[in-house]
């Protein structure tokens, strides 16, 4: 058995799956419409200046979510700490509660059991919120992409603004990524928010297939579930 070919009992097909990618590119929507922004209505001049000011505000000061997953979180801690000191950029205050955080750094591999919880933590953050993907795992599954349990990147579950490559990225790379995010926010650029392949749904709303029938006794109709269609993952 040669090593370049995956074993049959692990993966049946290696054909590219583009369905989720198409989903991702549709239905673009701005995430910057906070209630305050809506309150000001659409007075043109005031609003452009106000917008510029708000962009500067949001780009200059950010609270991070204190959120460690895997290997990258060690480098993330180093980024907060002495030598690299992320706080120089006004974004080095980790908040333990998602209610008070602006930026979520996703530092590690997302697995099937964790993805729904991560989605929930993301939902608990107030708008406007941003997500920085740290490392290959949260970008694509990284070295564990072939795993039976590994979600192929955080973007399958939540929208992401910045991807930082590396395994793990050096603290300098994370600092650069955050600085890039700040630059984008200051320029008022937004990332498209699209339908994600994996969402939390009520069990009762799932299409009735073999798997759902099988689990029907174990799971309550109203329980939130996440359904992974591994064969469709990119």
């Amino acid at each position: 058995m040669s090593s370049d070919h995956p074993r049959d009992d692990i993966i049946d097909t290696t054909a590219p799956q583009t369905k989720t990618r198409e989903d991702r590119m549709s239905e673009v929507d701005s995430r910057f419409n906070s209630t305050l922004r809506e309150a000001f209505g659409s007075t043109p001049f005031v609003l452009t200046k106000f917008d510029a000011f708000m962009d500067w505000v949001r780009g200059s000061s950010m609270f991070m979510l204190q959120f460690g997953i895997a290997c990258c979180s060690i480098e993330m801690m180093h980024t907060y700490a002495v030598k690299h000191d992320l706080d120089r950029f006004g974004s080095g205050v980790p908040r333990a509660s998602p209610r008070q955080a602006d930026v979520m750094i996703v530092p590690g591999t997302i697995v099937s059991k964790f993805a729904p919880r991560m989605k929930r933590v993301y939902d608990q953050m107030p708008e406007p919120k941003f997500v920085v993907n740290m490392g290959s795992c949260s970008t694509s599954g990284g070295p564990f992409q072939q795993g039976y349990n590994v979600v192929k990147g955080a973007e399958e579950v939540i929208p992401v603004d910045i991807h930082i490559p590396g395994c793990p990225p050096r603290p300098e790379a994370l600092v650069y990524g955050i600085a890039k995010l700040q630059e984008r926010v200051k320029n008022g650029e937004t990332s498209p928010v699209t339908v994600k392949p994996y969402e939390l749904e009520q069990f009762g709303d799932l299409e009735k297939d073999e798997l759902v029938e099988k689990l029907a006794d174990d799971i309550d109709e109203e329980t939130l579930v996440m359904r992974y269609n591994w064969a469709d993952s990119p």
Partner: protein, 558 residues
């Protein structure tokens, strides 16, 4: 090599002839009719035991033959049967090993649970059930452990289809204030999987009475990233080595790599050159320092709250170690430095500068350690918080297969570097640190002292390397391009990782990839003992105890 408690002569003869010390024929006679036949594994003899006599066999071995350490349970599926292998050792002398193999038929994989004999079998068997699909009779709580409850199929089984969809529940937890609490005053709090104290993604289902922890149950698997599957689909020679770096990612990469290197070298009969062993020893101990400093920093984070001075100082010193390791390996964390038969490259040029860098660090270290002692261990408030909390006594620790600094802080004198020598440790002068406290304070103290011992080892390695003759610097043994070990060779080997005994079981099938690759993670066993330590404590102590266990979720969940 010196020891702290026993005189050195005791262990020496056993260390030189590890397998011969166990009289397997006597053991077989002891086990009587439970044994079906005998198998020979590379590390020890194995007795094949009937599936309904597991408890008998294991308790005989434990009580009458003194094998008090259930190191690991490996489960696997053959084309005709399932098999669970119990790897037994002695805490007093881990070179004395024996394995108990329990085959079960494929159509009815029911085997007797070992949980009543060894508490640690609880989680190990749950994992075997989860990933391979063996049913354990008489197991108190046979549920999935790494994968979600609703998972379909057993992924390390032979006929698992990875492309099938899966559904994972996300259950809302009940609001305590909505409940009627007139009958019971307890409250269930979910600590994690996203919580600042869990050091990653761990879920503690905690039952509280006021602030007192009545019960706590660790729920793991939030970082189960299929390390065993990854290793089983990689080739021995090159493709597996990068993964160990990511088990215990607290900068303990080279220690983990060594676990794989040791087992694969035993399996393929590779002799590592002495020079490479010294380099390995030095780099591994650097990793241990980095890992222990991380443990210290995060433990203080739990006690002090917020990113305070000690955490920052620990990070500052870690940066120095990481710089040295980067100089040596080219990476800050995922070193990928060891190769089967040696290391990937020699020390960086110029060697003098490198040695000076290491020496400078070693010279600074004592003053740093003093600073930590000033700030932490001598602080009375800190002592108030840590002394006498999270106590784990030696007997319980052994029941749970606890190893590493946690075991040594409970007074168990167990360190594989000395007791089951590998690398260059036996030629160096260092001590195994133990402490009798068994509490959070002892665990911290043991780690801090181990940092000093590691520094001693590094110092000696640097001296050796500096004087090594230039034409004898052999970094790699001659290893064939493709490794195809004998079919059906089985081996279990462990090294002393940063958190304890990090073992790997490999079964080869004649190809260039392992047929079964099982990781024995020290954190997995250590974490299992958490409820014993935390029951009856307050919430802050639960958090502190978890911190002092120093678990790395990447290694717990694999």
């Amino acid at each position: 090599m010196s020891k702290t408690e026993e005189p050195a002569e005791d262990a020496e003869p056993e260390a030189t002839e590890p397998v011969g010390a166990v009289d397997y024929d006597a053991l077989e006679a002891l086990l009587g009719d439970a044994v079906v036949r005998r198998e020979s594994h590379l590390n020890a003899e194995a007795f094949v035991v009937r599936a309904d006599r597991v408890q008998d066999a294991l308790s005989t071995l434990k009580v009458e033959a003194g094998f008090d350490h259930l190191s690991n349970v490996s489960a696997q599926e053959y084309h005709d049967r399932f098999e669970s292998i119990y790897h037994l050792k002695k805490y007093d002398d881990p070179t004395q090993e024996v394995s108990v193999v329990v085959p079960t038929p494929r159509d009815d994989p029911v085997s007797q649970s070992a949980e009543p004999v060894f508490r640690t079998a609880d989680w190990h068997e749950r994992e075997a059930y989860d990933l391979v699909g063996i049913d354990y009779d008489e197991h108190p709580d046979l549920r999935r452990i790494l994968l979600p409850e609703t998972w379909q199929g057993h992924p390390l089984g032979r006929d698992y289809n990875q492309d099938k969809p899966q559904i994972v529940e996300f259950e809302e937890n009940v609001n305590p204030l909505a409940d009627d609490h007139r009958e019971s005053d307890t409250m269930l709090v979910n600590i994690g999987p996203h919580h600042p104290a869990t050091h990653g993604v761990l879920h503690l289902e905690t039952v509280l009475d006021g602030e007192t922890v009545l019960d706590v149950e660790p729920d793991i698997g939030y970082l189960h990233r299929c390390e065993e599957q990854m290793a089983q689909s990689g080739t021995y020679r090159h493709q597996i080595m990068p993964y160990p770096d990511r088990w215990d990612y607290g900068s303990a990469g080279i220690l983990n790599e060594w676990a794989y290197a040791r087992v694969a070298e035993d399996l393929n009969d590779i002799e590592v050159p002495e020079y490479a062993q010294v380099v390995r020893t030095m780099s591994a101990e650097l990793c241990r320092i980095a890992a222990h400093l991380l443990a210290l920093g995060t433990f203080c984070l739990d006690i002090y709250g917020d990113f305070t001075a000690i955490f920052m100082y620990a990070m500052r010193d870690r940066e120095v170690v990481q710089n040295i390791l980067e100089e040596l390996t080219g990476q800050r964390m995922m070193f990928n430095y060891l190769r089967l038969g040696g290391v990937v490259w020699d020390l960086p040029e110029s060697r003098e500068e490198f040695f000076e860098m290491v020496r400078e660090f070693l010279a600074e270290l004592p003053s740093r350690v003093d600073e930590y002692h000033d700030l932490i261990t001598e602080n009375e408030l800190f002592q108030l918080r840590t002394v006498g909390t999270g106590v784990l006594d030696a007997e319980t620790a052994k029941q749970y297969g606890v190893t590493g600094p946690v075991a040594r802080a409970s007074g168990i004198d167990y360190d594989l570097r000395r007791d089951d020598p590998y690398g260059y440790y036996e030629h160096l002068d260092w001590d195994v640190i133990t402490d009798d406290g068994g509490d959070n304070y002892s665990r911290l103290l043991v780690r801090m002292r181990e940092v000093e011992q590691s520094a001693r080892i590094i110092q000696q390695c640097v001296d050796l390397l500096e004087e090594w003759p230039e034409d004898e610097r052999e970094i790699q043994a001659n290893v064939p391009r493709t490794l195809n070990p004998e079919p059906d060779a089985e081996v279990y080997r462990a090294v002393e990782g940063a958190k304890g005994e990090l073992g790997i079981y490999i079964r080869s099938d004649g190809t260039d990839k392992p047929a079964r690759f099982k990781i024995r993670s020290p954190c997995f066993s250590n974490l299992q003992a958490l409820p014993e330590m935390a029951r009856g404590e307050y919430v802050p102590d639960l958090v502190a105890t978890l911190g002092s266990l120093d678990i790395i979720l990447g290694e717990v969940d694999r």
